[in-house]
């Protein structure tokens, strides 16, 4: 009779199956929403603006002349200086400023002349020269101008340079360490930006769920842990789609820009593994922060509450990121170990480590530890949710804010 009503199509879902039902719904709902278009375009705006600004800046730089050295000497000295400049320029190139004759006057006034692009004025005489200019400029030109004057004083042909045999090597220890640090830092920054951008989306997704009142249907049908996990995985999958799109656009920009974009040095574990670690540590970092945001979302009932509660977490995440960056310079010390063990900084620290250290086994341990932390945060978040959100107290009972629920004193039992 009644038992026969449960047909072959219906069966008890495992927690993972239940999570996948939520993940599938959320993934497609977000993917086919207008929000996703804005989500995709969001990071592209700064990139496009940056590229445009860079292009305009470069164009402006090209149009603006390099600062020149104004020569306020007598005619003979000016000629000698010009000849010396002609002799030295092939060897020194851009290190030697271009020179321009300036009518004798007050050097300070000449420097204010907007019609010329003078960085400094050389006055006095070749034997007793005076260089007038801003502190930075005269410090920068002191050496080259001294060399130029010495050449002008010297009689005869310039000395022959001995031929230097050039033997390039692939690398040196100092160079490798320094360049891999650059890769590590770049990786950390990219990881941080992506995680911060995407983890917040989980929060707004949960608040929306509360708003449309579907959450009680979900909570009655499947464990809250599955709801949370499903939402995290859906957003992770959405993030991956976003990253693929952004990488595609980034690749196109790179191809279009050619050599003007610097290439990062190869990381210690090699590029393929480094990229794989990037995906894994992004996922872990995202899941960690996302689970924390979900726990916060479970406490909040309004968007305003969500903003109030998530702001300190965002700030703390920034601190954690700076800490992980600092730990880069403290390899082997307790600082690095703490950064690796603290769940929220662990993905950053380990991703950076992949850039500078080829040993692989610590990554397996770290990924396991981070996964366990995710499970812990999801469980805590789900419990908080069941404890604080799914309730309908007696009519007239005063609602307490999320802050009060977290830190306020408990009301005495009635």
């Amino acid at each position: 009779m009644t038992d026969g009503r449960i047909e072959e199509h219906t069966g008890r879902l495992t927690r993972w199956q239940a999570a996948m039902v939520i993940a599938r719904r959320d993934f497609f709902a977000i993917l086919f929403s207008r929000t996703f278009i804005f989500f995709l375009l969001g990071p592209l705006f700064p990139i496009v603006v940056g590229v445009l600004a860079g292009g305009i800046g470069s164009s402006v730089r090209d149009q603006v002349d390099q600062p020149e050295l104004g020569v306020m000497l007598d005619a003979g000295a000016t000629i000698r200086l010009g000849e010396a400049h002609a002799r030295l320029y092939p060897q020194m190139g851009g290190a030697l400023p271009a020179i321009q004759r300036v009518e004798p006057a007050d050097p300070r006034t000449a420097l204010q002349d907007n019609a010329r692009n003078l960085g400094a004025i050389l006055s006095g005489s070749i034997e007793q020269p005076v260089l007038v200019g801003t502190q930075d400029q005269i410090a920068s030109w002191h050496g080259p101008v001294g060399l130029l004057l010495a050449e002008a004083i010297r009689e005869g042909a310039p000395p022959e340079r001995p031929a230097i045999a050039l033997v390039p090597t692939a690398t040196s220890t100092a160079d490798v360490t320094r360049s891999r640090l650059v890769t590590a830092q770049s990786g950390q920054v990219l990881l941080f930006l992506l995680i911060m951008l995407l983890a917040g989306m989980v929060l707004s997704n949960l608040v929306e769920e509360k708003g449309n009142k579907v959450i009680e249907i979900l909570a009655a049908a499947i464990p809250m842990e599955s709801v949370f996990l499903g939402k995290l995985f859906a957003m992770l999958a959405v993030s991956m789609v976003g990253i693929v799109v952004w990488l595609g656009v980034g690749g196109a920009i790179y191809l279009g820009a050619g050599n003007s974009i610097p290439v990062l040095p190869e990381p210690a574990v090699g590029w393929p593994l480094f990229i794989a670690f990037g995906v894994v540590y992004f996922s872990m970092g995202y899941l960690l922060l996302g689970s924390l945001f979900l726990a916060i979302g479970s406490l909040a009932t309004t968007v305003r509450e969500v903003q109030t509660l998530s702001m300190p977490v965002t700030m703390l995440q920034l601190v954690v990121f700076f800490f992980a960056s600092y730990a880069l310079a403290a390899t082997g010390t307790w600082v690095e170990w703490f950064a690796i063990l603290f769940p929220f900084s662990s993905p950053f620290a380990m991703f950076a480590r992949a850039a500078i250290d080829p040993v692989l086994w610590p990554h397996l341990l770290a990924i396991g530890w981070q996964a366990a932390s995710v499970a812990l945060f999801v469980t805590i978040g789900a419990r908080l949710f069941r404890r604080w959100v799914m309730k309908s107290g007696p009519r007239g009972a005063k609602k307490r804010s999320a802050w009060s629920r977290l830190f306020g004193r408990k009301t005495k039992l009635t």
Partner: protein, 317 residues
């Protein structure tokens, strides 16, 4: 006859931030029954239902749902329509039904097929491909109701299902509940409208102030109040009046009084032997409303009436 229990609960207690929401709830819902949870708004009906379904855990007490003490593990055999209706606005109607089935373990393909079938059956086939946001409130409520039933559950729980429905749809829902029960499905619903419970329920739990002063068959609740006797006599006085409860006064030709504890037979004998000249005699059994007043108290009854008036007012507006 011993019934298997769809739900059994004992001593359920829930506090929210120190405020006692539900205190010491004992329930036993037989399989296949239509069971009402009756009480005014804020009495603890929703909290009780949420505890029974495992949406929240009780602070004290225990419950079993379809024999399991982990209610969520039986979700595939349960349908639940919460008081606050909610659907994803961007979902199509049949997809929304399929999704609710998927949450309960029904395959999506089968859910979609049944979703279209159910919508057709309810005369909403034309709206199957419409997004929920494009449906009227009543249509959206029907979609959610069908989503609650799509996986053909053994136990269906409706929290205030009649709220916000017009009279026609209330009638349709009553019919649906009866049909479900005929098919062997256990139906539990909460309500603050006594008439629904009286018409539909085999058993009720009366809940007021977070406590359940009565849980059992509707007849048992009504039997808490002695039946009223309405007697019309030819004689105005005589020995027969000794059989009437003390202080009973005539109202025209009629006498209204509570049936004596000794029952109807001794009363009849005394009236006949005393030559009362019985013109008419009717015994009126107490209604559920009177039983509610008796069991839950005047204040709870007044609250219940105020809730009903408020709802009627809202619908009129």
């Amino acid at each position: 006859m011993v019934h298997k229990l769809a739900i059994e609960a004992e001593g359920l207690l829930k506090r929210f931030e120190g405020t006692l929401a539900v205190s010491g709830v004992d329930l036993a819902v037989p399989e296949g029954a239509i069971y009402g949870i009756l009480g005014p708004n804020g009495a603890g009906k929703t909290t009780t239902i949420r505890m029974l379904l495992g949406i929240i855990d009780p602070d004290e007490g225990w419950r079993t749902l379809l024999g399991s003490d982990d209610p969520v593990s039986m979700a595939h055999a349960v349908g639940y329509l919460p008081e606050e209706r909610g659907l994803y606005p961007a979902m199509k109607a049949y997809e929304a039904i399929a999704f609710m089935g998927a949450l309960r373990g029904l395959s999506l393909d089968e859910g979609r097929r049944r979703g279209r079938e159910l919508l057709e059956g309810y005369g909403l086939g034309y709206a199957a491909d419409r997004q929920v946001r494009q449906l009227s409130k009543g249509m959206a409520q029907t979609v959610q109701l069908l989503g609650t039933l799509v996986h053909r559950p053994r136990l269906v729980v409706f929290d205030e299902p009649f709220s916000g429905l017009d009279a026609i749809n209330q009638g349709k829902l009553e019919l649906l509940i009866r049909d479900l029960a005929k098919e062997g499905t256990t139906v539990i619903f909460s309500t603050h409208v006594i008439a629904h419970a009286e018409r539909l329920c085999d058993e009720v739990a009366i809940i007021a102030g977070g406590e359940v002063p009565f849980a059992g068959p509707v007849d048992e609740a009504r039997d808490r109040i002695r039946p009223r006797v309405r007697l019309e006599t030819a004689a105005r006085d005589g020995r027969w009046r000794d059989a009437l409860p003390e202080g009973t006064r005539p109202e025209g030709a009629f006498w209204n009084f509570e049936l004596p504890e000794t029952g109807v037979e001794p009363l009849l004998r005394a009236l006949i032997e005393g030559e009362a000249g019985i013109q008419s005699l009717s015994i009126e059994r107490a209604g559920l409303h009177d039983a509610f007043v008796e069991i839950a108290g005047e204040a709870a009854a007044r609250q219940l009436e105020a809730d009903m008036a408020h709802e009627v007012g809202s619908e009129t507006r």
